[in-house]
Assembly symmetry: D4
Homo-oligomer: 76 residues x 8
């Protein structure tokens, strides 16, 4: 199992909308709105590195109102 | 009483306009234009965490010409 | 329930030791070693903001070999 | 009147001690423990730029357990 | 005499244009294109803090193609 | 021989397109998509500092979908 | 083949010593001293993610005079 | 002529001492104490890239009480 945390910054005012959309994506097992340098903490799990990459690059980073992401891949 | 400092970056040239608008928002008890990595220091107080959140997310972050915010919530 | 993510940087070479110690602390429900700007992602839950604060300030930040922490408190 | 906000990082575990010491320094009108990239927000006021500088460089930055500071001077 | 260094990031590809415009502004005594996190180092001098502020906020930050600025005011 | 590493952030979702375009530019000897604060690591070599500068400023930074760059020039 | 770039900050004055030691480690295929926010760019290759991790955590991060590292793992 | 700006962070409380020492080094044509993320702005000029490198790595970075440096080399 591959796992990563994606720290997301959204367009200002779109936090709730992005949060809702993220929660419908397969492989995303947690979305938390947070205070501070990042707006959302997203927990992602997939059966392979390849699948994890697809979720992050094709599903999360391409979402409207996602402004930037910082991906922390776990050390397996 | 819940309290936070919000460090704001505005669109360049809009510092004064954003500052004026912030000063009219209930719960904002101080706005200071500063030199350095941030443009404005905003001091916010509310009677609950929930109300504090509303001011930050619905009033400050949605303001026109606010480019990014870094919220420092105080440790109660 | 109050929840936070604490992004931890450890002394270099002490990642595994800090990870082991963190996992024994009550309220810490996940510890993940990650690549990138941070070394560990720590997931903390407590029944109140006060208790959450105690875990972060008295248990995590005082651990030997913890060099710095960035706490992201969730927006309730 | 000259005013500045000093964002302070302390040695881990020394937040409360530094906070107590800061509150005894003349010219410091507020000290707040915060979550996030900084540990303390310190509000400083002095009758001149010269006096403000002395408080920051001779009193705050030389305190034991103060690890780093980021000073935001207000635009007068 | 008040003095500041303004570290400027420009729109990509507009470095030379911004550099040329900056060099025509009174009070700007040096503009250097640099490698790294910032694109231009701008050296500004004025006879008062008030005048320095005007140059930075009304002349530099409002320039087309200036994306962000970090102002380092000198400790007098 | 002059050499630099350029750490590139692209518009979200345009990583692959930018990567393809970079690989066709003379002087670029490696392009790697990475996880973390940067999206692409670009390795550039040229016969002179002047030529290196041209590749970075006229070819890389002006590419569509390149959002920001951090250039690390090697110490010769 | 797994590959990563490790951006290293050394103790000041120890750049050359760390560079020499890094170049003797198996799996490290390039070490470059650079100007800017990082001191050294280290290119690492290994036959598996597991082996890559060992080189970074057991060989690079434990080296004397290595102060901090930022690992960028390539997206395979 | 090669030129660079070196942004220096000193040990807290040692700003003035480091400033004095820097001003005696050949090739350093300006030292300014500043407010903000950096403590000192150092302006360096040398007749070659090689000589510039020596001043930065052998003279500035090895000074007692210099904690970190960020070098911005000018684009010639």
């Amino acid at each position: 199992m591959s796992k990563a945390f994606v720290l997301v910054n959204t367009n200002l005012g779109s936090e709730a909308e992005v949060e809702s959309e993220l929660m419908t994506i397969e492989g995303i097992i947690g979305v938390y709105e947070v205070y501070g340098v990042y707006d959302l903490v997203v927990e992602v799990e997939a059966e392979s590195q390849q699948k994890l990459k697809e979720i992050i690059f094709s599903r999360i980073r391409t979402l409207k109102h996602v402004r930037s992401t910082l991906t922390l891949t776990t050390v397996s």
